[in-house]
Symmetry: C2
Subunit: 470 residues, 2 copies
Amino acid sequence: MILPNILPLFSGEIAAALAPLPFLATVVAEDSPIILSGVLLTLVVIYLASKFGAEVARRLDFPPVLGELVAGVVVGVSALHLVIFPEGGLSASDSVIMTALQGLNQLTPDALTRIFESQSEVISVLAEIGVIILLFEIGLESDLRQLKEVGIQATVVACVGVAAPFAAGTVGLMMLFHVAAIPAIFAGAALTATSIGITSKVLSELGQLKSKEGQIIVGAAVIDDVLGIIVLAVVASLAKTGEIDVVNVIYLIVSATAFLIGSILLGGVFNKSFVAIVEQLKTRGNIVIPAFIFAFFMAFLGNAIHLEAILGAFAAGLVLDETDARNELDELIKPIADLLVPIFFVTVGARADLGVLNPTVPENRAGLFIATFLIVVAIVGKLITGWAVFGQPGINRVAIGVGMIPRGEVGLVFAGIGSASGILDKPLEVSIIIMVILTTFLAPPFLRVAFGSSINPIPESTTAVETASE
Amino acid sequence: MILPNILPLFSGEIAAALAPLPFLATVVAEDSPIILSGVLLTLVVIYLASKFGAEVARRLDFPPVLGELVAGVVVGVSALHLVIFPEGGLSASDSVIMTALQGLNQLTPDALTRIFESQSEVISVLAEIGVIILLFEIGLESDLRQLKEVGIQATVVACVGVAAPFAAGTVGLMMLFHVAAIPAIFAGAALTATSIGITSKVLSELGQLKSKEGQIIVGAAVIDDVLGIIVLAVVASLAKTGEIDVVNVIYLIVSATAFLIGSILLGGVFNKSFVAIVEQLKTRGNIVIPAFIFAFFMAFLGNAIHLEAILGAFAAGLVLDETDARNELDELIKPIADLLVPIFFVTVGARADLGVLNPTVPENRAGLFIATFLIVVAIVGKLITGWAVFGQPGINRVAIGVGMIPRGEVGLVFAGIGSASGILDKPLEVSIIIMVILTTFLAPPFLRVAFGSSINPIPESTTAVETASE
């Protein structure tokens, strides 16, 4: 390794001496406008799909995020081949967008492959930045002080609702389907987190958001999001080393928890400095840029200590949630999240190859059984949480259990990270995505039955949490 | 070429058959968290630099964009080596960020080079998306109806102010310095566009924005931005083919103008549909996403017909400027622009190797003469525009000429595109950047003298144009 020249203020001589070898730069420079074309066209397709999916879902009374996910499946590897990635043997000629660019620019097959890979890399990083911003926003929306009011009941429901499907899912996959330990743990962990957004939206439509049951459900959903993100950080880190020993697992759980609690405690101090800095700034982006410096740095830190970038972004959101600049920040982050988060949801759908569960192919049968098993565990594992509530005679236990069923963003984050890092094989990844889709589809009608509600419920006013998740 | 399989709804078999060859995907998957770390860390550095630079510039009474550019020079190849790109023989070991990642992750030199290239590609595309959004925003802020009031005087000033430095710059570079035709034309074109933002800010501080002179200057600055973007599209397209013949040049000028006018005319029809669509949408991002679908698609179109992506984005901005949703859109685009535009300005500064003009190196003398020549042409070529005004006895001709001097965003767009595409060699690129910096530094004191203003001017209220450019 040549040590970097930290301050070569007039390093022109060196640059000039090396200049006669610009082969690489020239190749990249020629490709660069076509890579940009590919990225722009892919973003147009992703945005069209996300908006179309979200609006159709909304009109059918389903959460918009579900529509974005399904729209992603339609434009992705399972159907239209508009948004695909160079994984599982797919090449540039499989991509409709790349074929169109090829037609427009008469590229050599080599150049097309290079452009396909660069374009996919850029879209993948944009999706990762999208999920970082999503978790930053969820952190900003999670009011930890509110949790104190919901209290011990929500914590018990959350812990049971994380432990039961995690244990049943992991053990079941290993025992019944002979899945290796790490993917089994990863898939089990993907079953843990209830979607705050989807749950509170349905509760609000049923007029049950302020009921005892509603309060416990939303409180537990916030807590299991936090638990789910810690579990994800631990499991993803385990997967990187490939080894599972008790000391390592304990070390990871402690470090992930310490990272989160540590940043919140340090954040209490940092809060004041953040507001003081923001107040001194007089140029455009005076709130947005410091907030993203903090969020991206925490995400980098989460990644650098071999946990997850999203854990850092979530912690950054929790910290800034406590500042006076919070309301303004919420407003400013919305358009940024609107632009970047759909890239994540659509690409998760687009990467999922539903073909691996095609029931007409005999080899797929194992995958189908796994998907069915995961869905059953996902439903039953949350349903039983209603019976974990104690000291509340007459409470609607079925309603609480059903209310915890819908999975959403965090489940998809597991599927996305698992697939991108190669931990999950295709059938497991697709099973998790189908689990998220089905639990989200089933929860609204189930909840209506559980609460014995009328056909025309009176909607409550929308909450901050709900608005954030749409 | 294998034709793409448009609708392989159950293509699982094919994917399964190809699955045993996931070599490429595995390599990418292993690199992926480190690429993300690199991108996050680079963005943190870019944001810190941009905010620091902008705030210092603001306090010294210079335009913030100048501070961002200079801060980019400081973190880039000329000094700190934090944000560098694999061009001109620079490798991963020259990058401080890559060296830090190397220390954190124990990477092989090959992996580090791959990660450096991928990370640089992602940052480059983010910068390109940043400049697309910048031009989209400038388009949204350019009110074409206002131009009718300023009328013929502004048009004449703009045309002289584009033609004089363009002709003098190009011919001078070819005759005096024996620069090849295409880079000479490109550098000449980079001298054309006055910065609306910087000019109107200084005028506003002097209380001269509503004066006859002020109105002509701002009107001419809007027109020469449009002319400058058309010139850029034509010149960049010439550079792609490498041939200059009169038929081709006329064809390009006509097609760029037709593209711009055509989209504005068609936009008149599209406007109504855009508002109608936005009103139907009920999910988050109902304005932002359709606006960016349009902007990105127009940018793609500009790129696809071998003009420039920014021409399309600018046209999209002009079109949406006419809609009822405009004010809301302006507000929503601001945080997005705040986040992405600084990436462009900082990377333009970071790519500029000031070392190529180090006066202690004898070989750099030619470059220094070129830089001096460009700066003189840039100043004189705009100064004379004051004498193009007719039928206005007693008008302050010096003030108009001086008001047209500051170059800004569009000049930097020329430097950025010229450097990324390899049209401009290092001395020419750096000369253009120094020209932008110097004209912007000099304009405020010159304007004060020209207007004979007091030392403590009364600032007018800020305008929309001014706010947009900060």
